[in-house]
Amino acid sequence: MRLAVLILAAAVLGLVGGLGSALTLSGLVSDRIRLGEIVEIDGWRSNWSIGTEAVDPYTKAWIARFGLFALRREEAVYFYTTVDAAGQPLDEECVYALDVDEQPGSWWSVTVYDGEGYLPKNADGRLSFDSTKAEDLGSRRVVLSSEIPEAGAETGEDNGYWISTRNAGAFDVTLRVYQPTPVAIENPAQAFVLPPIKRLSCAGETPS
């Protein structure tokens, strides 16, 4: 009887340990673990393994969790950051600006996602900024703010440069570059110039 209880206890502990370690190592418990071919440029991060046939099951599980339906790097690359240029977490209580350089690909876009990876739940209709908008406005400056910036304060009377962070909480910014050049895929650190996200002000602070 005592042996049976011991075996049962060992089996339960083993199952819990196996499940917990699998979920942790694959990044489902925390996104602090990062697997695959990580590319880091000026605070932005990408995973060059997304979409590929992963070499090990851990990387494959990680990619499934963080890159579901994402394209392989030959078609698109995805850079994201959760912090501003000073290394502080991005927060909807603050206003930020970034100037996106021309990217080595056929088209780029900047999008804000909330902590769960979804678009911020607001009705502002300002979810992203892309290279076609930049061309129309003649400017690649993007402002991230939970409130509508003053019309004409930056470029364009219609505030086309604005991405609303209303209801985003602690958010991240994703920069997509579609059809990157082969040279950019080979030497990302040299080919991609990724913008620092400058904090302009925060609620309760005097604007700098």
Binding site: R2, L3, L6, I7, A9, A10, A11, L13, G14, L15, G17, G18, L19, S21, A22, L23, L25, S26, I50, G51, T52, E53, A54, P57, K60, A61, I63, A64, R65, G67, L68, F69, A70, L71, R72, E74, E75, Y78, S106, W107, S109, T111, Y113, E116, G117, Y118, L119, K121, N122, A123, G125, L127, S128, D130, T132, K133, T174, R176, Y178, Q179
Partner: protein, 173 residues
């Protein structure tokens, strides 16, 4: 006592390792199943293109959807044979991609102007008759997903992308 300790450790190690490996290998398929279930809940019928509404904060069904793109999705079911997929090229950015049931992006091709893409998706190892001009894409199981992405940062471009769906096909061969 020593025998009991050995048995305890042996059972702990074996169940721990077995459950760890089982879970880690099953995770991609579980995640894919959840993703396709969310899409199926939108009323998507297998082996037919479903044109997704323009992405907004309210209707975004999957994480990290791009509001600048028009999406069309085809849930692949190969139980009755290969599925043929075609899509015309366009003036703006677009791509056709196929994912297998453990999330690997097994095929992607840009949709360039005047360069339509035509593929035949089949089970690996299955004998197929490839239509002229088509590319064979093998899946390791009977299920997968095809996605069309087209540049659509404005309502006008979204409607233009929708207009191209008349010339697009996803169906049994």
């Amino acid at each position: 006592m020593r025998r009991a300790t050995l048995i305890f450790v042996a059972v702990l190690v074996v169940t721990g390792l077995a459950s760890h490996l089982l879970v880690i290998r099953a995770l991609p398929t579980i995640i894919m199943n959840r993703g396709t279930a969310v899409i199926a809940d939108l009323g998507v019928v297998p082996n037919q293109w479903f044109i997704a509404p323009r992405i907004t904060a309210e209707n975004s069904a999957v994480v990290r959807a791009s509001p600048d793109l028009a999406y069309a999705v085809c849930l692949l079911d190969l139980t009755e044979g290969p599925v043929q997929i075609s899509a015309p090229g366009g003036a703006d950015y677009g791509s056709l991609s196929v994912f297998d049931d453990d999330t690997t992006n097994v095929f992607v091709r840009p949709l360039l102007e005047n360069q339509p893409v035509d593929i035949l998706v089949h089970r690996a190892g299955e004998t197929i008759e490839l239509p002229p001009g088509a590319t064979a894409v093998a899946l390791s199981s009977t299920r997968g997903i095809a996605l069309l992405r087209r540049l659509a940062p404005s309502q006008a471009l979204y409607e233009a992308a929708q207009g191209l769906m008349d010339q697009s096909r996803c169906g049994l061969r």
